[in-house]
């Protein structure tokens, strides 16, 4: 039995581990893939206090070593369920069951999918969720970006510097993203914006070759030949597995305020998977500190 099990080894979960260990509680961190989380994809962090430049990999490695150095245990297994048991919580992974007196959910979020057939198989074969990661592979090629928020606009701008031709496909008639980005895009000669349009089919052999785009007003369908499709339609929190014990909002985020308490006694939440207005590295680590401190209070009572 551990004092605290933390689910997720991103910045929020690992900061929670640091705080919990400094309060002399036993800590197990369960992580599905490897420590780091989403910040691993950021080549250069420029907005975290202290370091003017640090890569997401270096940042997370240092936090990981700090947490480990303080005595947090890490196990790389995916947590699939939390159960309220007699006097404790049980966390079930694909391999085992772990017990703790308190749990901190720091599972973060993942890329929202379009939900099209073959989408998963085509990741790395023409479908990508990260223009800054994969953009270089599409120099002088034809690509499409899907979405209407800032990420989509920034991805389209980024790709227009590299690719021969960029389609921007958006299901509405105006963008949610910043006006300056939208204006800049409209000036780019190699960018074609399709409003009121939805990608309705991926056509592929070994890799993606064409997409089918449907006009949401007229219903007319056109086929676009391309090399790459960048999907930037937001992120979804990874809370679905825990919905039986925790209240979520309509978008799937754990309902909790700044104190990181969930509706369930002894279960706390930290980071991007919590309802909040600003999802940044610094707010994730702040949540980790708060959730751990509240968990320690709960244990001491």
């Amino acid at each position: 039995m551990y004092d605290i099990i933390i689910i997720g080894a991103g910045p929020a979960g690992m900061t929670a581990a640091i705080y919990a260990r400094r309060a002399a509680k036993s800590v197990l961190v369960l992580e599905a893939v490897n420590y780091g989380g989403q910040i691993l994809n950021t080549p250069d962090i420029e907005n975290y206090p202290l370091e003017a430049h640090i890569s997401g990999f270096d940042f997370s490695t240092r936090v990981y070593e700090q947490a480990k150095g303080l005595g947090a245990e890490f196990v790389f297994e995916k947590a699939v369920e939390i159960r309220n048991a007699e006097g404790c919580k049980e966390v079930i992974t694909q391999k085992s069951t772990y017990k703790a007196k308190a749990v901190i959910l720091a599972t973060g979020s993942e890329n929202r999918k379009l939900g099209l057939e073959e989408e998963e198989r085509l990741v790395g074969r023409g479908v990508s969720y990260c223009a800054t990661c994969d953009g270089n592979f599409y120099r002088k090629k034809t690509v499409a970006v899907v979405g209407g928020g800032n990420t989509a606009l920034e991805d389209a701008l980024y790709m227009s510097d590299l690719a021969e031709k960029v389609y921007l496909i958006h299901r509405r008639d105006s963008f949610r993203g910043e006006e300056t980005n939208a204006a800049r895009l409209k000036e780019r000669e190699n960018v074609e914006i399709l409003y009121n349009a939805k990608v309705t089919k991926l056509i592929a052999e070994k890799r993606l070759k064409e997409i089918e785009v449907t006009d949401t007003i007229t219903g007319s369908v056109r086929t676009i030949e391309l090399n790459g499709l960048f999907i930037a339609v937001g992120r979804v929190p990874e809370n679905q597995n825990f919905a039986s014990v925790i209240d979520l909002d309509d978008a799937g985020y754990v309902l909790a305020g700044e104190d990181c308490h969930t509706n369930c006694d002894g279960i706390f939440v930290a980071g991007d998977n919590r309802t909040k207005t600003l999802r940044q590295l610094v707010t994730a680590t702040a949540d980790g500190a708060m959730a751990a401190t509240e968990a320690v209070k709960y244990l001491n009572n």
């Binding site: 490897n34 780091g36 910040i39 691993l40 950021t42 080549p43 074969r125 023409g126 990661c133 994969d134």
Partner: protein, 103 residues
């Protein structure tokens, strides 16, 4: 066995003509998830000396990257007798790497 850095010049001998199963890691210096996966691959190389694990830097090896159609990294490709038998894209867990190698 430690991981070997493979280039276009050494690819045939190191990978295609290898007698053992080869796990090729296409990666780049700027790729955080690639760096995250590296220690896991090194552990596997240590634990399973019968498997040859090689690294290919995509920024330096354009031709290999094109030839094997690598358009997203990290990308792990498993070769057996010179043929690709399995592939995965993106950061995956230790267990998933082991499964990929098992086929």
């Amino acid at each position: 066995m430690a991981m070997t850095e493979v280039t276009k010049e050494t690819f045939e001998a190191e990978v295609l003509k290898a007698e053992s199963l080869v796990l090729a890691d296409f990666n780049a210096d700027w790729c955080g998830p690639c760096k995250s996966m590296r220690p896991m691959l090194e552990e596997l190389a240590e634990a399973r000396p019968e498997i040859k694990i090689v690294s290919i830097n995509i920024d330096e090896e354009d031709e290999l990257t094109d030839e094997y159609d690598v358009i997203s990294i990290p990308c792990l490709v498993v070769f057996k007798n010179g043929e690709e038998v399995n592939r995965s894209v993106g950061l995956i867990s230790r267990d998933a790497i082991a499964e990929l190698v098992e086929g």
